[in-house]
Amino acid sequence: MITLRINGLDVSVEQGSTLLEAARFLGFPIPTLCHMDGLSPYGACRVCVVEIGEEPKTKLVSSCTYPAEERLNVRTASARVLRARRMILELLLASCPQSKTIQDLASAHGIRQQRFKQEYEDCILCGLCVRMCEEQMMAKAIGFRNRGQNRSIGTPFDIKSDVCRLCGGCIYVCPACQLRCTYTQPDKAICGGCANLAPPCLEKEQFDDMMCYMDPCVACEVEKKAQKER
């Protein structure tokens, strides 16, 4: 057991747990975005920041990756943490405003405006899909490619992967997904196109959106064409 202090409370948690696990176990909420139970911690989004150490030498760390240490002083909701978290969310909102997950997080943290250049990224490189594919689906069909501002998620050589199980796990965990696939009926949350476990778009030579592989979606386009002809 490790004894540490979280938000002024002396507590003991199991050896080897992270600060996030410790705090959640004790009932202190910490928002997360790139963390998911069952997947290894990755520390990409920084939404889960907490403040550790003693004044005046405290620092911000991502709680999902930081291991609980003996006699560590942790604050999960200090003014500094909240300020940083709000900034991170505002930046996330600037890069991917269409994400329902990010919108919800932002609104829960009282963010009412976004002061940065608006972009519409379809991926925030949180790595959830990659970990899902590797750790839960044992497929390793998708991964990170390139580096720096060209970093992206996808299959090797951008062609249909022969190890992909078409399980849809990657789409399911993606927080940046603009829409769950709705086929041509937005009022329906799920079109079933994915549920048949072979999204038509996967068969195409190249797809550049991993979130919904479906841009443009074959099935949807067929429907559109049919509508036009009508």
Partner: protein, 296 residues
């Protein structure tokens, strides 16, 4: 995400067919012991083919513990790896901060115009590949352009065309005098201090360095280019490659006293005094190009 890897397949489908699985396997075998040596393996494949062919990467992932995503991820992460076939000549322009403020963008633009490709692309005739880097560590000499390993410093726009032409002709045939790293030196015998320069016998447009040489039972004289970094020699003897030769001063006839061994081939290094202070050492083995210059 926008895909940066342009036409992953089309460009190299032809070349991919030339990839021979056996040669990739041979490379893999060499690295067998060395676990996690993915980068070393990829480097070797790239050395062999000039780029990383898709098929080779697939073989690597099949035969090692690395999955294809990991192999592909590493191959696309590092700038020095290329997934597309590259041209015969690699033109690499620095766009680092220092070179940038010294006008590198206009140099790159000029290169793009002259070669009619964008940075990162290869000319249709597969002669040139143009790439940019962010700092080569020679900032004071910026803008820096490296063509086939030859560095050109303080490149101005008007020199770009000339550089490209030189590269096309091949650097080995370029005129000496343009290359900053090749310069003439004057040397003398470290024993009698007599100059070894022979004004009467000119190599590369400069007086040559004259020494007496012997090997086995043959004796004669040898003339070396005095251009540091150039290896032209002239001798009436027929010295087989790999022979370690004795060097003597043609004036005092004393053997030039070796104080160290060649770091490349282990043969004795032959010293000569450099006019103006310093010591030149050349390897005494025919064919070994190792040489060092210590300027005092």
């Amino acid at each position: 995400m926008k895909q940066e890897i342009a036409t992953p397949n089309n460009g190299n489908s032809l070349a991919a067919e030339c990839v021979d699985e056996a040669s990739v396997l041979k490379i893999l075998e060499k690295h067998d012991e060395d676990r996690g040596g993915l980068i070393a393996i990829l480097e070797e494949i790239q050395r062999e083919y000039g780029y990383l062919p898709e098929k080779a990467l697939r073989v690597v992932s099949d035969k090692t513990k690395h999955s294809l995503v990991d192999v592909y991820g590493v191959a696309t992460f590092y700038r020095s790896f290329s997934l597309k076939p590259r041209g015969k000549h690699l033109v690499c322009a620095c766009l680092g901060t220092a070179c940038h403020v010294r006008g590198a963008p206009s140099i790159v633009e000029e290169l793009e115009q002259q070669l009619a490709v964008k940075a990162g692309e290869t000319t249709a005739d597969m002669e040139f590949t143009l790439e940019t880097v962010n700092c080569l560590g020679a900032c004071a000499l910026g803008p820096v352009v490296v063509i086939d390993g030859h560095y050109s410093s303080k490149v101005r726009k008007y020199r770009v065309g000339q550089l490209v032409d030189e590269a096309r002709r091949g650097f080995d045939s370029t005129e000496i005098g343009n290359d900053q790293r090749i310069f003439p030196i004057d040397v003398s015998c470290p024993h009698c201090n007599h100059s070894l320069m022979d004004e009467a016998f000119v190599i590369d447009g400069h007086p040559s360095i004259k020494v007496s040489v012997s090997f086995d039972h043959e004796d004669g004289s040898l003339r070396l280019s005095c251009l540091y970094g150039h290896y032209r020699i002239s001798t009436e003897l027929d010295i087989p490659i790999g022979t370690v030769v004795n060097f003597r001063c043609p004036h005092c006839h004393v053997q030039l006293p070796s104080t160290s061994d060649c770091s490349v081939c282990g043969a004795p290094m032959v010293p000569m005094l450099v006019y103006g202070g310093g010591m030149l050492q050349i390897c005494s083995r025919r064919g070994c190009k190792n040489h060092m210059l210590d300027l005092a």
